[in-house]
Every structure is written in C-alpha cells, then in structure tokens.
Symmetry: C2
Subunit: 220 residues, 2 copies
C-alpha cells in the first residue's frame, strides 16, 4: 500500500524517526482503536470530542444524534482533525528528562460530507457496528426508518495523515547508566472483564463468542 | 468543592442527564488519565495532539520539547481545548440504535501561559513525573540546567469544564425486549503487564513498588 504524501501539514517535525506515513501502519492504528478524538473550530474556539469511528480505505465514518454539534461542523465542510492514541506503556529512565511513554498515535486531516442516501447510511451504520464487535450487525435489530432519520452519519475523507510510534526501552545519557534507579518499561494493554448481562436478559440467552472472546483487530 | 459555571460553551446539550459540572467529578477523571488530547487552531486548521498532563487545582501542566508546536500555540495565549476520555465498556443493546459505550470524559476550555521561572518549572516537572508514577521524582535524576532549557512547560488554566458520564446496562425500546439478541455490558479496564527491565539494568536493582503495584488514582 502506498504512503500518505509528506507535506508541511502532516510532517512529524520533532523526533522525526518516530514518524510513519505508510497507509498500513496508519490504518492498523485506526482500526485497533474503538474511539477517536475529533477536533473542530467553533467560532475560533477549538473543540475536541471523543466519538466512535469506523474505517473503509481512506474514509472514516462518524455518527451521532442529528443535533450533534461536531457532526454539524463536519457536514458544513469545515477542516477537521481526527486523532487516535494507543498508550502501550510507561518508559522509566534513570533521568526524569528521558522518561517517556510507548505509544502509537495517528493525526488525520480532512473534511466531512453528510451521508444522505438511506442505503449508504445503513451500510455505514453496519460498518460502525461491526467496528465495535465483528458479527454484531447480524445479531441485532437493525435501524428502522425513524431511527435512521434521528441519526446523522458523516463520511470523513483522510486527506493527510501521519502516525507516530515509540517502542522499546528507555534511552539514558551515558553518564546516567551508573545510577541506581530502576529503569525499564511498564507495559499496558486493554483488558476485557467478564461480560455483565442486562438484568432484563432471559437466562437462556448465552454470551456470544464476539463478546466473550472480545479482541480488537491486531490485538494479540 | 464548587462546580464549574454552566455556560453556552460547556453545557452538555444532547443527553443533558449525562452532564456533570462538579469539580470533584471533573478532577477525578483528569487525574486518573495518563494522557489528554489537546486541541488548538493552526491557521484555521484544528490540530489535536496527545500529551501527558498533571493537575493542581484548576491548573493543568503540559510539557515538551522547546520546539513543540502545540506548546507554542498555548504559550501564545490562543484558546485551547483539552479532552480526556476513559472508555469503560461496550454497551450491547438489542437494537443497533441503542448500542452505546460506558465512558467518562471531560472537555476543558482555557488558555495557556509559559512558565519561565526555573523553580516554578522544576515544581511543575515534579508534578508531571509524580502524575506518571507517584514516588518516582525522588527516585530519578532530576533535570539539570541544560535539560530545563530544552524543555517548555505550560500552565493551562481550566476556565470552563464539563464532564460526561455513562454507566449501567443498555436501554432498549419496550418492543425490543422480546428479541433474542444478547444484551449487556462488556467492561474494560487498563491492565499493567509485568515490568520489562531495561536490558542495561544491573540485576541487583529490583522493581520499585510504584511500578510493580502500579495503579492510577481512583483505580480499584
């Protein structure tokens, strides 16, 4: 897969060796995340809102209530930034200065378009549901006409993107390796706890495999 | 503790029953998170960048390399938005429409100020290090004069804030409770994996308790 063009807008300026522009790296970070943070400008004021996303090629789908201010900004065609971050661990160095975190993040720039066609909207909602849990769309009551009308779905085209990735142990100054402070990485991962059935669920409906064995794409 | 004033800027408009303005609720969500997402406007383009934060009262401290574009925008006094999100679980409803997530998020509005005084900067860096792992500041080599000069620290004053919280089981339409789809919550939490010592660490330096027993404030 080709990479995103490196321009003034997406170039990782500080620590450029952490920058990645390959589509497969960017897309894998997007797909593993359940949520993204969407930034837009409201009358000069930046606003950042967390929301669910789903991706197909270079398109992200975002949805919400018809009155959602973020979606209104997107559908008006204003520039938008979507950022996703996985925190993979804390990096403890011997010096405070070289402390860091291991992470994978993407910053995506682009514009939105309101999806008005009902069939296209339904396809996007299926993609969003499948992004949350693969297999769920066929195991749920799909939206009816009234619900479709209450929901806005926006397509966001990734026009420019970069990823930033840090992995591995701390890097200390040569003189500091003699210090007696512990150094290393404390890794994190997201853990699924046992599913909690709805109190109103009949006892004879068992937990589906896509819930009991829940994993994000790319997750080990 | 008093609450943040509810104004046009921070009022939770959709699903207002999820809105919280109490300082203790907002502060607990901030303190539990390792990272925040900072939104600013660069020549009309919104940009959202993940970074570490630490809080004291209504002040957040953010730091980075002296050349950091986000910090430059903050220290120039432009309006900034800081958003923090904890994803606590997926809410599976019988209808696709009522699927949701359990989460706790805050959206903070304010302005930044560059910390120029060296002692004040050192205090803020101690706060940032202690935010990452309580007890680490006294178990590390603190920044020297050169490192202080290479680091920018910005104080961000929370002028307006709101939290949004969803907890509990799914809520379906009355007619849908007869459907045979599994419904309930799949809870998530962050899990610490076994610490990975730096390959260069001498064998006789053991893992400190603030790493082996790592917990975020408020975490069970």
């Amino acid at each position: 897969m080709s990479g995103y063009e490196v321009t003034k807008r997406n170039r990782v300026r500080l620590l450029p060796d952490r920058g990645r522009y390959d589509r497969d790296v960017v897309h894998a970070i997007i797909d593993e995340a359940l949520l993204c943070h969407v930034g837009f400008v409201d009358d000069g004021q930046p606003v950042v809102i967390p929301t669910l996303h789903a991706r197909k090629d270079d398109l992200l789908y975002l949805h919400g209530s018809r009155g959602n201010a973020m979606l209104k900004h997107l559908q008006a065609g204003h520039p938008v930034c979507v950022t996703i971050t996985h925190l993979d661990g804390i990096v403890f160095a011997r010096s405070a200065f070289h402390h860091s975190v291991n992470y994978r993040s993407v910053v995506l720039f682009g514009h939105g378009r309101l999806i008005e066609d009902a069939a296209e909207k339904m396809t996007a909602l299926a993609l969003l549901t499948e992004h949350v849990a693969r297999g769920r769309w066929d195991d749920t009551r799909v939206p009816n006409e009234k619900e479709l009308k209450l929901t806005s779905v926006v397509e966001f085209r990734i026009e420019s993107a970069s990823a930033k990735v840090r992995t591995g142990p701390p890097k200390d100054d040569e003189d500091d390796y003699a210090l007696r402070h512990w150094a290393g990485v404390l890794p994190f991962r997201r853990q699924s706890l046992p599913p909690v059935p709805d109190p109103k669920l009949p006892d004879d409906i068992s937990v589906p495999e896509y819930v009991s064995g829940y994993k994000r794409p790319g997750e080990k």
